[in-house]
Amino acid sequence: MMSYRTIIGLEVHVQLLTRTKLFCGCATTFGLPPNSATCAVCCGLPGTLPVMNRTAFQLALKAAVALNCTIATFTKWDRKNYYYPDLPKNYQISQYDLPFSSEGWLEIETPAGARKIGIIRAHLEEDAGKMLHDERAGKNDSLVDLNRTGTPLLEIVSHPDMETAEEAKAYLEELRLLLREIGVSDCEMQEGSLRCDANINLHVPQPDGSFVATPIIEVKNLNTFRGVERSLKYESERQAAELQRNLDAGVWHVDATRTSKFRDYRVSPITQRKSDGALGPVSKATAGWDERTGRTEIQRRKEEASDYCYFPEPDLVPVTVDADTLERVRAELGELPAAQKTRLQSQYGLPVYDAGVLSRQGRAFVAYFEAVVKQCGDAKEACNWTMNDLLSTLNDRKLDIKESSLSPENLGELISEIQATGLNKQRAREVYAVMLDGLTAKQAIDKLGFKVVADEGQLLELVRKAIAANPKAVADFKKGKVKAADAIKGFVMRETKGMAKTEMVQQLVMRELAKE
């Protein structure tokens, strides 16, 4: 098995959360009957003209600022010309040489720590429609649904900075979190509001210290986060095997005469014999990911780059962005997930992992957590309860934090109650479960009839009884097995049906055992 570096760059399209399309007033609602959300403008009827949706541009600006991009003060629209039945004008209004934003970054967590993934550019464009192929008996029809045509899309192109499939997935997840948090997109991969194409190849070390690059494959049709990860894993292994096979068979050659620089090393391309007999580079290819078979299928090798005849869109005027607008966008952004994570660590003393889990749940969840802390004053416990119990309740019931039947004040009160009474975890969870019906901690405890035994005399008696009943545990404890004390504690808990105040039992057991 050869060792190699995997080089991955992602091209992500997200639909912006606007009510209407990018250049007309049609609704962007998902799942409407085919061709019901269309008008003369998005159908490209002759004589119609596009008018830019200002909200879409504002949302795109927000995303680019959150992605630390440089915002262009002057940006324009271009036409990308190509023929396809789902593109009624046979050109797409997009941005070519002057995108509204460029050179940003997004930080992801990797096993080796946090890393910045560079972003080449983010630009706005209109979406195309959808083709539906009706191949029922006797039919050979292709149907076109133009509802999606003209929906605002933000295309975010990363640098080839990701080195593993896991990193690619982490980047996508981080991107989704960010864009959802700032209200730019709902990023539903299943509904197509987040789409991803991945460019991947390998840099394989050579004995002389240089590297050879396998031909780049663009993996398309990635519909799930898991699919992104699986396909890239599969594709890197496939490319490694393909390289070995083709080098061994003498089909591919390493062209060490035309190296290029990548990061801090040099890379040689692969060449192969063309039909005219001369050695030429192996061109980039497109591959489709088949979720079912778990394979990538090479669709076509592009012999030459497509010519989209880009030129400035004469029907739209250029857009200028001034400093005030940018300032306003920045102010509206609020705290972004990365900054929030850092703050959760410093302000509440949470470990990196916990801060990460909280911040990944989104702003509303973090706000909930902070309200719980405010109520009970114990960040560690607040974190444990929200991140474990509350989160699994929400997941089980498929609820959003905003739909939680348990208020943060009540959860805070429960934590305070536990601390005050010494209610053990198991009983506390029972209280929690009842509280989900909208009860306060006190109401729930009353309902369950829980009465914490905190009478020292009563507990001392039970402890002594336990010691007398467990001579082996006592003997073990004396030999230095501290764990053996658990048997004594367990006896007391059983006798009190779990209602003994934990700390008090602990103290008494230790004191009494010491006397033995």
Partner: protein, 484 residues
């Protein structure tokens, strides 16, 4: 009544001397009598026109307030969308296209209570200078039926010249209003880019196209422009600045008036009779106290070349949508999608349109775009700068509208380059985005009209019209009518 201007027809109605219906009937009768020879119109719905007229008369009778063009028939070039009415662009590919909306200018006409009398013939997708490129018919010049009315708005120009309508709308991408106005002996004006909304104008060269008026005289042209100009939120390139009342100050001469005369507009290829007529017009102005100043528009010799790169590049993309998939002509028999698109376009487009699509696609192709399209954009900017400098020294620039009077049908049909040169003086105004007008300024010995082109700075329509009006007051070229 046929010799009356729109302004006079409005007056007659106000006085109770005529009705919208009688006016419409009169122009329809003229249409019936002469259009089988002139072929200015593609579609006329007489019953509908009468209905519109009756409604206006009823409004007047009911004491309702009426629009600025109440009861005035207006002919409309068939590249402007009319709701529920066929709009073909003179092309087979849009033979059965019925727009579900009105162009902004049509809405404006309706709001002004004008009568939409019919849709006029034009070169296919407004590509041409003789109206010979229509897929349906060749329009003839009312002054000489062997000759073309010019183009591409030849149908509109001929309809006004032949008194089949007192007013008409055309579109001007490189001279398509001014050149036919000149060849037909009437007034035709191209407003500044952005003055009139392009919504519903089926695009040829989007950064150059403008809708403008044809009329018998300057006052009528001013009146029609007043109605159609102004902001429209549906066209981002349409400016949001107030429209001055062009007719209000029309008879006030601009004083002092400096007229720029560029030597580039009097070069090789200019017919001597045309030059003479234009020089006499300049004399008329001098007689009124205007100062003539020699200026230079050094980049204007490149205008035709720049135009045929910019306009065709835009056209190649604008016309991509006619693929037989969503609307327009679809071929009968085909094997697969690509074959369907190829055949539909091959059958639907005429030779000139195909030529320009290919030219434009080539100019935008990778490897050529820098040398052609992008270079053309740079020269276009220089052409605009030439005019900026000119208008810093003078109020208007004058010259011939077209190098020759009306040419014969078929004369240039097989020589695209010769045809392209008939727009040599008009094209630079579109590239610069400025306004221009053509007014009658004389006749050749053989009796063909000659046009004077006056160019004004961006959004200087009011000044331009007042300058044009000054010449008209001193001459009566505009009063001559062809013998039909």
């Amino acid at each position: 009544m046929l010799d009356l201007t729109a302004t006079e027809l409005l007056q007659r109605q106000a006085n109770g001397d005529s009705s919208a219906e009688s006016i419409t009937q009169t122009f329809l009768a003229q249409f019936r009598q002469h259009d089988s020879r002139i072929r200015a119109f593609l579609h006329v719905d007489e019953a509908d026109a009468i209905e519109q007229a009756k409604a206006i008369d009823a409004k007047r009778k009911g004491g309702e307030s009426l629009g600025k063009l109440a009861g005035i028939p207006v002919a409309v070039k068939d590249v402007l969308c009319t709701k529920g009415r066929r709009t073909t662009c003179g092309s087979k590919i849009l033979q059965n296209f019925v727009p579900p909306y009105d162009a902004h200018v049509i809405t404006k006409l309706k709001e002004a209570d004008a009568i939409l009398i019919g849709k006029t013939n034009c070169d296919e997708f407004a590509m041409g200078s003789s109206t010979e490129n229509s897929a349906y018919q060749t329009t003839r010049n009312p002054w000489d039926l062997e000759r073309t009315p010019g183009g591409s708005s030849g149908g509109s120009a001929a309809s006004v010249a032949a008194s089949q309508a007192p007013l008409a709308l055309g579109t001007d991408t490189g001279g398509s209003i001014r050149q036919p106005a000149s060849l037909c002996g009437i007034v035709g004006m191209k407003p500044s880019y952005g003055r009139v909304s392009r919504f519903g104008l089926i695009a040829y060269g989007s950064s150059l196209d403008q809708v403008g008026p044809f009329a018998q005289d300057v006052r009528d042209a001013a009146l029609l422009l007043e109605v159609i100009a102004g902001h429209d939120p549906r066209d981002s390139t349409c400016v949001n600045t107030p429209v001055p009342p062009y007719t209000a100050m029309l008879d006030e001469p601009i004083k002092p008036l400096t007229i720029g005369v560029a030597k580039q507009f009097f070069g090789k290829g200019l017919d001597s009779e045309v030059e003479q007529a234009v020089r006499s017009a300049l004399k008329v102005y001098e007689g009124q106290g205007a100062k003539i100043k020699d200026i230079s528009l050094p980049h204007s010799p490149y205008a035709v070349a720049v135009y045929y790169l910019v306009a065709t590049a835009e056209a190649s993309s604008n016309l991509a949508r006619y693929d037989g998939v969503h609307f327009g002509h679809r071929t009968e028999k085909f094997a697969g999608l690509i074959d369907m698109v190829k055949k539909s376009r091959g059958e639907g487009f005429g030779a000139e349109v195909k030529r320009r699509i290919m030219l434009g696609t080539y100019a935008l192709s990778s490897g050529y775009i820098d040398a052609y399209y992008l270079k053309a954009l740079k020269v276009r900017r220089l052409i605009r700068q030439d005019f900026d400098q000119a208008f810093a020294q003078c109020d208007v620039v004058m010259g011939p509208t077209s190098p020759t009077a009306a040419f014969k049908i078929g004369e240039k049909a097989d020589d695209p380059l010769a045809m392209y040169l008939s727009d040599i003086y008009t094209i630079s105004a579109n590239l610069a985005g400025i306004c221009g007008i053509s007014i009658p300024c004389g006749f050749t010995k053989s009796g063909l009209p000659i046009g004077l082109q006056i160019l004004g700075g961006p959004f200087a329509e009011e000044k331009l019209l007042r300058v044009a009006r000054l010449h008209e007051r001193e001459t009566d070229w505009h009063k001559r009518r062809p013998a039909l």
